[in-house]
């Protein structure tokens, strides 16, 4: 097999995507002792180091510990070759199948192996195809099932006992899948079709200066925009948020070059607007600092605590003492980082933006009132909400104001398909809510 020197390799400190069949998980590979938990399996990650991204590893059981919800198995990981990954079906070479299910009486006792037997089998065998072979041997009904039904059974068992994981570098696409599957709330209910359209309609690209307000997507929305701005380009992003700390998990996971990271300026909405209006360097040092209230009671914190975030912490909920604020944070020489970011953001605000994206849990109306004046004419505006009524009201307000034209309120329908020979159909479940987008173009 050819090796490609261009393929990046897994490094300590990286966020990685661990994939086991269709299940994917975002994990920080913080140290050689880091373990990842996939249901009842605990994986030791140390053998990943310096291996190329995209590699597949075999889970090798080291020990089984009793856990809260049944036994927890600890696995080491062994790099393995592509050829080990044949379909379980081929390995087993199952052939005899009934033509339909008319002779099957599902009495719930088709499997003669007892749960204890299976557990033992699992400890003994590292190879899922062996386990499944045993299960098939001991099933009274398997060979009477139709081929379709057999495959369904095998897929189900394969899923349970599948012993390979692939390690992939995080991308916007993979992270959105993970976040949305775990809990759509983690990304404010922004579905894949909706995110893709936010990126399109906002026009974000390698040129221009972009403004985003979002009230909590674990960094995914700013990451997606900064990803579209690109490395080695001249685009910039001002990322406003309502909390004390910007959610940055997805931004950090992308492992962007520093120059690109620095073109995303994350600031608190209240703090930066005060800076912008009250403005001026003189005032900034003489006036005591206001702490904007934490407005979003539902705001979700990133699930994985990420120490990098502490770097960016703004002291906006802790009441800084007057002298502290005047002398700089913690008595250090320069102004605090959040203050510098506010300065950078207000400079960009004065230069005006090439696009505005608002993805708010709050009513977007007052936010638009504050931010629309910062956008140049003939520029896209994109507002996301999960609540259609809010956007209907905003639509009417914008239409009446005459400041924005080409207004459209849209939502989406997304269906995935199972395309298999003779078994093609839309998937039986679909996502119910795309959320809503209100789009338009600013006027002079």
């Amino acid at each position: 097999m050819a090796t490609d020197t261009a393929t990046p390799r897994i490094q300590l400190g990286d966020y990685i995507v661990i994939q086991r069949q269709k299940y994917t998980k975002l994990q920080k590979f913080g140290s050689l002792d880091t373990t990842a938990t996939l249901g009842k399996e605990t994986l030791e990650l140390k053998s990943l180091l310096d291996q190329p991204y995209g590699s597949t590893f075999k889970m090798c059981v080291k020990e089984t510990k009793p856990g809260k919800r049944g036994a927890q198995r600890q696995h080491s990981l062994e790099l393995c070759s592509e050829t080990e990954l044949r379909s379980t079906r081929e390995v087993l070479g199952i052939s005899s199948s009934g033509a339909d299910n008319r002779d099957i009486c599902d009495d719930g006792e088709a499997q003669t192996l007892k749960p204890e037997d299976i557990a033992q089998l699992r400890e003994e065998c590292n190879d899922s195809s062996k386990i499944i072979e045993k299960l098939v041997e001991n099933s009274k009904t398997f060979h009477n099932r139709t081929e379709y039904s057999q495959e369904k059974y095998l897929r189900k068992k394969e899923k349970k006992y599948f012993e390979f994981v692939q390690i992939r570098p995080p991308t916007i696409r993979l992270m959105l899948d993970i976040f949305y599957r775990q809990d759509a709330e983690k990304v404010m209910g922004i579905r894949v079709d909706t995110l893709s359209q936010i990126i399109s309609y906002s026009g974000v690209c390698g040129f221009g200066s972009y403004l985003l307000y979002e009230s909590g997507t674990n960094g995914l929305l700013p990451a997606a925009m900064l990803n579209s701005i690109g490395a080695g380009t001249e685009g910039t992003l001002v990322h406003m948020h309502p909390g004390n700390v910007p959610q940055k998990q997805a931004l950090l996971a992308l492992k962007l070059p520093l120059e690109q990271q620095q073109r995303c300026v994350s600031v608190n909405l209240y703090s930066v607007l005060r800076e912008f209006y009250q403005g001026g360097e003189a005032k900034a040092t003489t006036l005591p600092l206001e702490e904007p209230s934490k407005v979003e009671p539902e705001e979700s914190q990133p699930e994985t605590p990420t120490e990098e975030q502490s770097e960016a912490i703004e002291p906006i909920t802790k009441k800084p003492k007057l002298d502290e604020a005047q002398s700089g944070r913690d008595g250090s020489k320069g102004p605090p980082r959040w203050h510098l970011e506010n300065k950078r953001a207000t400079a960009l605000m004065h230069a005006e933006f090439d696009s505005l994206v608002v993805a708010a849990k709050e009513h977007p109306s007052s936010i638009l009132q504050a931010l629309l004046p910062l956008v140049k004419p003939s520029r896209p505006v994109v507002v996301f909400s999960t609540c259609k009524e809010l956007l209907q009201e905003t639509y009417m307000e914008l239409k009446t104001s005459g400041k924005v034209t080409g207004l459209h309120l849209t939502s989406n329908w997304l269906r995935t398909y199972q395309i298999l020979p003779n078994r093609t159909h839309p998937e039986v479940n679909m996502s119910g809510n795309s959320g809503y987008l209100l789009t338009g173009y600013t006027l002079r």
Partner: protein, 320 residues
């Protein structure tokens, strides 16, 4: 006996829907005693999440009433095919109300209609056909699985609708619907893995004056083959479609409205401290309420493709 016609009071032997909540309903038989596993006759006590119901107590009660459970209460409803579909014991994958409604409409089933159905399955659709065609029509329903056919037959009897239905245990793909039904049906419905094999039998069973046909298939290839066969035999008005029903969950949403105007106003030294406090306490409290609705996070994305066709009148039927 509670499926024949609307009735007001629960009689012994009725199937009754015990309605606890939108997501919790049970179909129970209104009999005071049942036989347990050991063959003993014991009082019929039904267990729910809100405690137990002594079933004897509901006999004679008016449908629609509230009944006491040991730890709460529930309502007793007369079963309809819609409620039955949500509570019946699943013997197979079943078809639900949105697809069924379209089937009944497109097959133009009304009292007096003679309808052929295959397979019977769990009898979910059969109950709708029977409601639509009784008391003057008849349903002929076929299943290749003997136990299922027997269970369905017994169920129709207990539900008081046995007079309007004949249940057959037969593999219709290979054996057809039987000569006695040739030219007798107004409508034929197929829910079979290989509907194309049964289309020639449907063709024979439909009246010479014409009739309607429907096949329900999860996979598009089944519909493709079925349509080829329909076209060959001279069916027309061939239409394939999908119906998906969405629940709109009604709720009142409370949404924060934030004030940013105040940030434009410079503060005097004296108001600073109090204003800052005021902002903190005030801002999150400004909210607006919306009566709104949205879909559940997961919706049914596919049930099956419905293929409808018309057999025009007076198509000569060769003796196959």
């Amino acid at each position: 006996m509670s499926f024949l016609k609307p009735k007001t009071h629960i009689e012994k032997g009725d199937v009754v829907i015990l309605y606890l909540s939108v997501s919790s309903m049970h179909a129970i038989e209104a009999v005071p005693e049942i036989v347990n596993k050991r063959g003993e006759t014991i009082p019929h006590i039904f267990q729910t999440n809100y405690g137990s119901l002594k079933v004897e107590n509901i006999i004679g009660v008016e449908y629609g009433s509230k009944v006491e459970l040991s730890k709460g209460w529930a309502h007793v409803l007369q079963p309809t095919p819609e409620l039955w579909t949500q509570t019946l014991p699943h013997r197979t994958q079943i078809i639900y109300t949105p697809d069924i409604s379209m089937i009944i409409h497109q097959l133009e089933v009304r009292p007096g209609a003679v309808v052929i159905e295959s397979g019977t399955g769990s009898g979910s659709l059969s109950h709708y056909f029977l409601r639509a065609l009784k008391p003057t029509g008849h349903l002929h329903t076929f299943d290749f699985h003997e136990a299922r056919a027997d269970q369905a037959r017994e169920e129709f009897r207990r539900h008081g609708i046995a007079d309007f239905v004949t249940v057959y245990h037969r593999d219709v793909c290979n054996l057809g619907f039987g000569e006695e039904l040739d030219g007798k049906a107004d409508a034929v419905f197929l829910d079979l893995p290989a509907p194309d094999l049964a289309v020639p039998h449907a063709f024979k069973a439909l009246k010479l004056s014409g009739g309607r046909f429907c096949s329900f298939s999860p996979c598009i290839e089944q519909s493709q083959r079925c349509i080829q066969e329909l076209t060959k035999l001279g069916f027309n008005e061939i239409v394939s479609l999908e119906v998906l029903q969405q629940e709109n969950v009604v709720k009142t949403r409370t949404l924060p409205v934030i004030d940013l105007e105040f940030l434009k106003l410079p503060k005097t030294e004296e108001t600073t401290a109090t204003a800052a406090n005021a902002e903190e306490s005030k801002a999150p409290k400004e909210v607006k309420k919306y009566l709104t609705s949205s879909n559940p996070q997961t919706l049914p994305g596919h049930t099956g493709f419905l293929t409808f066709a018309t057999l025009p009148p007076n198509i000569p039927k060769a003796d196959e």
